[in-house]
Symmetry: C3
Subunit: 397 residues, 3 copies
């Protein structure tokens, strides 16, 4: 159930000065604070309407295209749920080859699939330097098609995870925090530890930790990033996080100690990722289809990872947090020691204690995505929400 | 066209004391007689509404998840049709690997795909002892998620075929019989021969014959199960069938003679399956990925099958039935001698005579599934049907 | 934006004497002139309604089946868009094997997927002599099922490309021409050059050039077909084109010179295809799964193609056309020299000049398909359009 006051949230929404209409949602730090708040409020209002059996269908027809260049279950279903909630029908775009299409192919395909399309969700997180670039390229193609009368509407783009950011995840995480702590204002001064954690796999994208440090530094939080030496993120993003913290009156700290990050933390987000420089090497190898090189790199990295098996979120480390009781977060699935692997990111004991909260955390994603779509397609979201609210069409008969 | 009287059927429906709301539909013998009747009546009413161009849309949004762990065309389309008929959008869950997921993966995935989901249809019939168990596990995960506030609704589960039962098939078959013979009451005393038949393939699931003997013994029918020595079904299910027959005033007989079963039968259902003990060995081999063992088992079984090529439903055997004119049934596709194989379950002559009735039989399945969904999601099905009926929204403009 | 006058187009529509209701749309030359005009007008009206934010939903439920026996992106999305525009939900039929199913399998599957299905879109263009035949077979199966009470409605079939014709493409092309030149009447006497063009691939279907010569000869156009010696089309279709031209007061000319065809042309359509006799050999080899033979044939054909690299639509050849300014058309994707291949069907310079018009050309396809569906399912299209128009349900809230 949504825990919001409808009238109050609508009023807050009306006071915002956002600029989301017709703009792709690719990276949170390219959006204003009001933009982000607008996404949160509309997400909450959509959830409120659904929870009260009020239809949120804004479209009588229209396609939503799901373009996953990497595997996904939860984000795929979140996107499908969001589109369906608004009345759009999802069609999957399966690119037969995994090679990165460029130039005329991207430009043409983007238009060919978009004649009656309202939104395109893209996941492209495999290649460093490629995912975000691809989304920009698709966006340019759509601008071109719309400007030239090819497309009767300009489909919006929602980034469902790229090499840089994972905004539907980080915004769902933020809404989880807002709900858990009562308000955005209450997050001010709260310490969140975004830390690397050991996993017996390699090549996990950087977009989640980057998304978290890039977003949570916006709201006066005390963001503590920690990873073993050599496991750094994209330097630009780290800089952005530092700048955000300075502007919002928060803190941003980087260390090589999980314990230091956990110390007195209100929230912990321990999650594995591959080091930035490894992702760069991996991208080159993937581009050159160097299978042998990839095997060698994987072996090397797993050996390197194995040096940090103690980077596990266990009961002892949780004791270091505020009252030993920090909120544990994860984008799921987590590598749970003794459950999904011999040793992983989190001990079974800790995970089991926070299992339900991590599910609840994930449950915000469909509404966040629906909000991103609605705000991209409608200039005045509060007007749409109020129309839906007053229409009172039932979602279920 | 539906052959029912609307008012009469609604009245019959109202007199039932069923308990389907919020309950997964996994196995017919776990349902009461009233439950089963309710499924049939609502299926007939939904068909009546559609035949009269009245919209049966109960949902304005909502997902229906189709989880097929085995190939399927007809059940997949039946499920999609049923969901669409009620206003739900189908999303396929493709499990990338064919391995049997367990534990946290099942629990988590079940929740992650269900935030805005109303129903989950599952086919899992490959592994003896696994399919039904998996559905129970998914159900538990959904209970857990709903109880803990993760899910705003508890998605229902419809068994689209497991290792034990195939209720959407057997219930569609029952509705076919009800329509053909005029009423459930008229089925009392009618003899149905559920027999093994020869096929040049092996490993066919047991769920259809088990579903038939488990269901048809409920309505006072004279159920005659026949198979070559060594081709037995799961003992528990056979016991259940015997008990059902005793309770309903019907008969249940097991023999090793196709002719004996056909003798004076009103209905015949000749269909191949793999022996229970073979399915057990096959399950072990599949679990252990013993490819060599599977090949040996297949060879052995096909050789064994070949001893029973005379278990073919041909004109001579049909002559043994009541007035030589029994209703031939099959879940399709049948192995038709000289058509889909050199020698199979049924002669071309017999199949061709009953081809259309077998198609009609299959045509009940979408309505049966839609009824299972509607009854799972709404406490008072007759009220919903009456609302749809009085609204008179057109299905086609 | 649609450029039509609503009232005028509705009036024109009402004056037509078409016969599309309940008829599959497989080949344009089996349709009357009024049939074709009706498809165009209804397509324009549907576009007009959508452009004016008026819902064109005719179905509250119902499936549309997408059966692609060959890869496709643009036609697949066009079909999905069209179905969604009318309120139908697309379900993909994936035939697990690429073998050509025949007989009982086709008959049965066609019925099994059709209980609640309104339309079936089929692409089957791989095998010469097979695609169209397959569609007829499916149609027969549906007739049989409908006549025998298996199906409550007879799903229509739309040919999404077969071995003979590609009517959704050619009709979209015709609508593009009608819009570009102002009216069908204005096309009279206009010269269109349908020419082969060089491509570094082989085995491209004949259906596009065949579709173009079979359709454009209907409206008094001067159709000039040109290809290198040995690259002929199916003789029957060429004969049909000649007959059409004679009847419509147009011209039909065949030559072996791209320059001759381009000379003074108003429209050029340069596109690669495999010679008819090669497609015949290829079909035999595919049927016999003769992998070695296919490799030899491919090598042979590519070598043969390489003799005609000068069949490229470049600036020099465009200068030969009417005022050097003919409309360039292509079904996309084109093989663009220096872009998608070293040397191909069209120079980058020419393609870039006409890129946007080719996109616009493709943009008619969803409406053409929607029109084919609507005309198949409703006897009186103008009545339906007027009902939708007067209802004024909004497509977007």
């Amino acid at each position: 159930m949504a825990h919001i006051n409808y009238t109050e949230t609508i009023e807050q929404l009306k006071r915002l000065n956002s600029n989301l209409f017709g703009k792709d949602f690719l990276i949170t730090w390219q959006k204003s604070d009001d933009d982000l708040k607008q996404i949160l409020y509309v997400a909450e209002l959509l959830r409120y309407l659904r929870d009260n059996n009020i239809s949120t269908r804004c479209f009588d027809s229209g396609l939503a295209i799901s373009n996953f260049r990497d595997n996904s279950t939860r984000t795929r279903f979140s996107f499908a749920s969001a589109c369906n909630l608004l009345g759009l029908e999802v069609q999957d775009l399966d690119e037969s080859t995994s090679q990165i299409a460029h130039g005329e192919t991207v430009r043409e395909t983007a238009n060919m699939i978009s004649f009656l399309t309202e939104i395109i969700g893209i996941r492209d997180d495999m290649f460093l330097g490629a995912g975000h670039t691809y989304m920009l390229e698709v966006g340019e193609a759509l601008n071109d098609g719309f400007a030239n009368g090819v497309l009767p509407q300009r489909p919006g783009i929602v980034n469902l995870q790229c090499d840089i950011d994972h905004p539907t995840q980080s915004m769902a995480d933020l809404l989880h925090l807002k709900t858990t702590f009562g308000s955005l204002e209450n997050l001010r001064g709260k310490k969140i530890a975004m830390t690397w954690a050991y996993s017996p796999s390699y090549g996990k994208p950087l977009s989640v930790p980057q998304g978290i440090i890039g977003l949570m530094t916006r709201f006066g939080m005390d963001v503590s990033l920690a990873y073993p030496e050599g496991y750094g993120l994209i330097p630009d993003v780290v800089e952005t996080a530092a700048k955000n913290a300075a502007q919002s009156g928060g803190k941003f700290n980087v260390s090589n100690s999980m314990e230091e990050a956990f110390e007195n933390a209100d929230i912990v987000y321990p999650k594995s990722w591959a080091p930035y420089h490894v992702m760069q090497r991996r991208t080159d190898l993937l581009r050159n289809k160097n299978v042998e090189g990839l095997k060698i790199l994987e072996k090397e990295c797993l050996a390197q990872n194995a040096n940090y098996k103690n980077w596990e979120c266990d009961a002892a480390k949780m004791k270091l947090t505020k009252s030993g009781n920090a909120l544990y977060m994860h984008c799921l699935p987590a590598d749970i020691s003794g459950v999904s692997c011999a040793q992983g990111e989190v001990s079974n004991e800790v995970f089991e204690k926070y299992r339900i909260p991590t599910y609840v955390e994930a449950g915000y994603k469909p509404y966040i995505i629906a909000s991103m779509i609605l705000n991209n397609k409608f200039k005045n979201a509060s007007e749409i929400i109020e129309k839906l609210h007053s229409q009172k069409n039932k979602r279920v008969v």
